[in-house]
């Protein structure tokens, strides 16, 4: 909302010397937030005057340009009355034109000081100005030529060009609809200084007389008040007066025609949207009703709209002629031939306005006000103001008939304990202050010793609850007076185990050289296709957004991999090729079932309702994904590097699990998007918690990531659920360790982890660790076989092991491997 300060001052008697900055600052402190200050001429100093061009001699220059050597009559503004010689490069004017001249000594925006200077062989004493040079616009079409009747040479142009006008633009919160008018802004301004306020809506209006245009309201809830006035003999060619055009321009409204401009002007003045009809196009009485399903209306923006039973419509005998309070119809619109005007000032139900606006995606200045709530008591005043202006400037006659249907609802009252503002804000607010402040915003207050009852003013439909009154009192006292007191410290339990464990996971991964990334959770079918995920895969069961940002990405993701791989590709394309990335984020796994209920708000949900609501939500487990590509260890002066591989991501998964006090086991698996031979299923106990390995080459190509990129994705919630927050101290044996190495030949497809587990099982309790240290395939072990070499360590808690003990344990381990896997001991 923009508000010219001169207009504010018409209704609010602000003290002398109040600066625009101070006014804006005080209004911000009251809740009308300063958005911007527009002071077009504030950095211009005169003399800036009207000049009449007397002579103009074009003088071609060597550089190909032509300049004009002009003499300009500036009256007595130059102190001599002699014409002023000025060089000007623009060509859009001629002798006799009135122009704007800044004389030597003047300063234009940007600190541009004007002095008489020698140029192109002349002494140029001043400058003929363009709108751009005056800071009034970006018009490059040359200098500003004033209308012939703008004034006399030598006249000051500050007022003519509104250069002294200052406009404050406010951000208006939805509860302060009353401030979307000069009436409201001025009321707040007066409040800010305790200054007198003259209400522009307070004007004598003729009473309803039954002779006005016939109006029937079938839906008094939707339209409690409908006022109609008519003007005849209106001259549709009459111009909008300059003062009104200028004000509309300052408000950011483009003047259109007198009739339209007047209705707009009064809307900004009083906050009450007005609609004007070409009365000659109306047939029969006006009716207000709800639309029938499927009815149509072509609104004045030219759109054909299908209406619903919730839309309030205005009709005449020809059918629907407008969407009440939102937008008029094309057929009855005022035009450049309209001489008979019917003015509608009606009060509309805000909720209906909001719904209709939303349904038809219509936003207008009128709609914004009607849906937030307008003062219902000023329909007659607003209509009267409009017909007065139409008659005055359009030469029409105000018809004597006045139609008023319905009456404004009575104003609600709110009762509060008198000390409520003090209790809620923690400020020291006396009862007198509370009463005075409520009266200052227009409430009628009936105060007792402990309680007060406030009758809310009609322009404040936002005030309905006790705490609303608290805010009103508090903002006038001033939020800067709210003391700063820490509440007593609660006895909180610190971070939950999950929360601290999640931090541990992040720190562990950063320590392992991974960089955390955050991706949007939106994916499309193409992403799942690129991953090679099959139709039956549960990762294809997605939650779909009704209004995705990009139509190609309509789903909430079920896997972190698409986002992660896109980020890998982005980094590679930007020149970083050795990458280790990780992401921790929830995925969305929808399940079938009922939707979430919309519950009442006047009580908390019952246990059953609460369960239903939570059951309707998709599962949203926290996932952890990470990716490696390029070199895990770089090559350098120290020697060769080592490319990242499937085994690194598996190792990282184990390191993460280890940080949570868990041990992951690994199973050979085959799952998209992994390489079918290089995919590990990660298992916690018997529960699968994720997969890790090298990507399928096709997936690498599809996402544009380097070949052999390796990734893992884990259900972090599943890990966190079993995390061991309090590790038990191990019982250390001080007896010496005994070591045995075993090399076993097994089938090539036997996972080493299985053989290691078997050895461990077979070796019994004396076995401290089993570590694979060599894998060999080749002629010596035969086709389809491999040799795995393990180092076994044995130790007893209570004695030094004998060679016999160790040998027996080793033999038992080998024996089990022979039995279970057909292993042969390698010589």
């Amino acid at each position: 909302m923009k508000a010219p300060v001169s207009w504010i001052r018409e209704y609010a008697d602000l003290p002398d010397g109040v600066t625009t900055e101070d006014l804006a600052h005080r209004l911000t402190a009251l809740g009308l937030k300063l958005e911007s200050l527009d002071r077009p001429g504030h950095d211009i100093t005169g003399p800036l005057v009207i000049g009449r061009v007397l002579t103009l001699e074009p003088e071609p220059q060597k550089n190909g340009k032509t300049i004009n050597w002009c003499t300009v009559d500036v009256g007595d503004a130059n102190g001599t009355g002699e014409p002023q010689g000025i060089v000007c490069g623009a060509h859009n004017f001629a002798p006799g034109d009135l122009v704007v001249v800044v004389l030597p000594g003047g300063v234009l925006p940007g600190g541009f000081e004007i002095s008489a200077r020698k140029t192109y062989g002349h002494v140029s004493a001043g400058m003929i100005c363009s709108t751009k040079e005056l800071g009034l616009g970006d018009d490059h079409d040359g200098i500003l030529v004033l209308p012939a009747d703008a004034g006399q040479p030598g006249d000051d142009v500050f007022d003519l060009l509104d250069l002294r006008e200052e406009v404050i633009e406010f951000e208006i919160n939805p509860d302060r609809a009353y401030a979307m008018s000069l009436r409201g802004v001025a009321r707040e301004s007066a409040l800010a200084y305790g200054a007198p306020f003259r209400d522009p809506a307070l004007r004598p209006t003729p009473a309803a007389d039954g002779n006005g245009y016939p109006v029937v309201v079938d839906d008094p809830e939707g339209c409690p008040v409908f006022v109609a006035r008519t003007v005849t003999g209106f001259d549709p060619t009459a111009p909008t007066p300059d003062w009104m055009s200028r004000r509309l321009l300052l408000l950011g409204q483009r003047p259109i025609s007198l009739a339209v401009d007047v209705t707009n002007y009064v809307m900004f003045e009083l906050g009450r949207p007005i609609h004007g009809y070409d009365a000659d196009k109306l047939t029969g009485p006006i009716r207000v009703r709800r639309a029938a399903e499927g009815e149509h209306l072509t609104t004045l923006d030219g759109n054909d709209r299908t209406l619903s039973t919730e839309d309030l419509v205005v009709t005449d005998d020809s059918g629907i002629i407008g969407l009440g309070g939102v937008m008029g119809g094309q057929d009855t619109e005022m035009s450049d031939t309209t001489t008979h005007v019917l003015i509608e000032a009606a009060h509309w139900d805000a909720v209906s306005m909001f719904r209709t606006g939303r349904r038809h995606k219509l936003t207008s200045e009128a709609g914004k006000r009607n849906e937030r709530g307008v003062d219902p008591t000023i329909c007659e005043a607003a209509a009267d103001r409009v017909v007065e202006l139409l008659a005055e400037y359009g030469g029409g006659t105000i018809e004597p008939g006045v139609t008023v249907v319905g009456q404004p609802p009575s104003q609600p009252t709110i009762t509060i304990p008198i000390d409520l503002p003090a209790r809620v804000t923690g400020m020291d607010i006396a009862s007198d202050t509370t009463i005075a402040n409520l009266e200052a915003i227009g409430c009628e207050v009936d105060a007792g010793a402990d309680e007060l009852t406030a009758t809310v003013p009609p322009w404040r439909p936002d005030l309905s609850d006790p705490f609303d009154l608290v805010e009103e009192v508090a903002r006038i006292v001033g939020y800067e007076d709210v003391p700063s007191i820490l509440p007593p410290a609660p006895s909180g339990g610190g971070l939950t185990q999950d929360q601290s464990m999640r931090r541990r996971v992040g720190r562990t991964l950063a320590g392992e050289g991974y960089v955390e990334v955050i991706n949007f959770p939106f994916i499309g079918d193409a992403d799942l296709d690129r991953l090679g995920i099959e139709a039956a895969d549960s990762r294809r069961t997605t939650l779909r957004l009704a209004n995705p940002l990009r139509n190609e990405e309509p789903y909430m993701t079920t896997t972190l991999l698409p986002g992660l791989l896109r980020t890998v590709a982005r980094n590679v394309s930007r020149g970083t090729s050795d990458l280790a990335l990780f992401e921790t984020a929830p995925v969305t796994l929808p399940h079938s079932g009922a939707g979430a209920p919309i519950l009442p708000v006047d009580r908390p949900p019952t246990e059953g309702e609460w369960d239903d609501l939570n059951k309707a939500l998709p599962d949203q487990p926290l996932h952890l994904a990470f990716a490696l590509c390029g070199d895990r260890d770089r090559s350098g002066w120290w020697g060769d590097g080592r490319p990242a591989s499937w085994s690194d991501v598996i190792e990282t998964a184990r390191v993460v699990a280890d940080a949570l006090g868990l041990e992951l086991s690994v199973r050979q698996a085959s799952l998209a998007p992994w390489h079918p031979g290089r995919c590990a299923e990660l298992v916690l106990g018997e529960t699968p918690v994720g997969h890790a390995g090298e990507l399928h080459p096709r997936v690498c190509r599809a996402f544009g990531v380097p070949a052999r990129t390796s990734v893992a994705e884990l259900d972090l919630d599943a890990l966190l659920a079993r995390a061991v927050a309090v590790p038990r101290a191990p019982q250390l044996s001080a007896y010496p360790v005994a070591k045995e190495d075993v090399a076993l030949i097994v089938d090539a497809d036997l996972p080493s982890a299985d053989l290691a587990a078997t050895l461990r099982e077979g070796a019994g309790p004396l076995c401290e660790s089993v570590r694979l240290f060599d894998v060999y395939t080749g002629q010596q072990v035969g086709e389809g076989r491999k040799s795995l070499a393990f180092a076994l360590r044995f130790r007893a808690p209570d004695r030094t092991l004998t060679e016999k003990d160790t040998a027996a344990a080793r033999d038992a381990a080998v024996e089990l491997a022979v039995q279970r896997h057909g292993a042969e001991q390698r010589a």
Partner: protein
């Protein structure tokens, strides 16, 4: 004690006289002094102190002397051998020091060789900012509450006094999910977590809830369809706006340094009444002239818009099962991404969501 040597050759006894013993000793000492490396000294040791050295042989011959001569000869030879051994030890030590010094010189490397064998890891600054904020509140005894990002419409809006026809509901451009009748949204704010806290905990409630939220904003330097918020909620007896101010002032000081406070301006949020915008005293210029005039952090304002806050609307307490006669509360919320942007001078919001490792790496693992 060895007996008389039957093969004793009196001619060979002469070397045991004083002159000869001294000559043997001096020859040994000269050889020791002349040894310039440990290898040579080892040879010298064998030659002059080993089993076959002249002094060792002489020592062996002492037993063959007549008893009256043995004492003197033994003393002479013993002293000579001791002197040789002492000199050997001393020279050994000297040469070892020299050898080590030489080795250290030889082993000198160029320590300016680059070392980037492994990639540097880092956590995302948003994650760390989220934790830093949580820690400020946990240190005050608050707890960290969390909730789902796909949330029930009722919790995201209705329970928070944003009824279906509330104009503010359209101001938050919401991602809706299909089917519409399931009434699920991507939460537009972390406030549903506050509602969950009230519905599942018993007062007093002091929780802070950082998390990601979604709005259908186009993606540009200052807007993102996904961003991060932190909200706080306090429900207790006798809670006032003053407690809100105290909490936010403490929060501001903890995050931005001593003396950095907040300012309230009246505003509107359906969740709170009265409501306020929170401005943060600029932590760079502190609003002091003349620094404030060209301060890029606050753009000359002296204050930075930080978030919103207010007294929890009693209607919200009712919908969330809190007895609004007994309890009052306050709530506040601010953008984590925005806080990070002005605290660390991030120019473009998109840097946070593009995953370029060059952006996150400098932040390391802790803010």
């Amino acid at each position: 004690m060895s007996g008389p040597n039957s093969e004793y050759d009196p001619v060979q006894v002469t070397p045991l006289d004083e002159e000869h013993v001294a000559a043997m000793r001096d020859e040994a000492l000269a050889a020791i002094a002349a040894a310039t490396d440990l290898e040579t000294l080892k040879q010298v040791r064998t030659e002059h102190a080993g089993d076959r050295s002249p002094l060792a042989l002489a020592n062996r011959e002492i037993g063959a002397l007549p008893p009256q001569a043995r004492k003197d000869a033994g003393q002479r030879v013993g002293q000579a051998r001791a002197a040789v051994n002492q000199a050997l030890a001393a020279r050994q030590a000297e040469l070892e020091v020299e050898a080590e010094a030489r080795m250290l010189v030889e082993e000198t490397v160029d320590v300016t060789l680059p070392w980037d064998r492994t990639t540097k890891g880092a956590r995302h600054p948003i994650t760390m900012m989220h934790e830093k904020i949580a820690d400020v509140f946990v240190a005050m005894g608050w707890e960290v509450a969390e909730g789902p990002i796909v949330e029930a419409e009722w919790l995201n809006f209705d329970a928070l006094n944003l009824g279906p026809d509330h104009p503010a509901r359209t101001m938050q451009d919401t991602f809706w999910t299909e089917p519409a009748e399931h009434h699920l949204v991507l939460r537009t704010q972390t406030s549903p977590v506050q509602a969950r806290a009230m519905l599942t905990r018993t007062p007093p409630i002091y929780v802070v809830s950082p998390g990601r939220v979604f709005r259908t904003d186009e993606y540009d330097a200052t807007h993102s369809p996904m961003f991060h918020q932190v909200e706080g909620l306090c429900i207790d007896r006798g809670i006032t706006m003053a407690h809100l101010k105290g909490t936010l002032d403490h929060f501001a000081e903890s995050m931005f340094g001593e003396g950095i406070s907040t300012r309230f301006r009246p505003s509107y949020f359906p969740f709170t009444e009265p409501s306020a915008e929170v401005d943060l005293r600029c932590f760079v210029c502190r609003g002091l002239h003349p620094a404030v005039d060209d301060c890029r952090t606050c753009k000359g304002e002296g204050w930075i818009e930080w978030g919103g806050c207010g007294v929890v609307n009693p209607r919200v307490l009712t919908a969330c099962g809190v007895d609004n006669e007994r309890y009052t509360g306050f709530a506040f919320g601010m953008g984590i991404d925005r806080t990070l942007m002005f605290r660390h001078g991030v120019a473009d919001l998109r840097d946070m969501f593009e995953g370029d490792v060059r952006f996150s790496t400098p932040f390391g693992a802790d803010l």
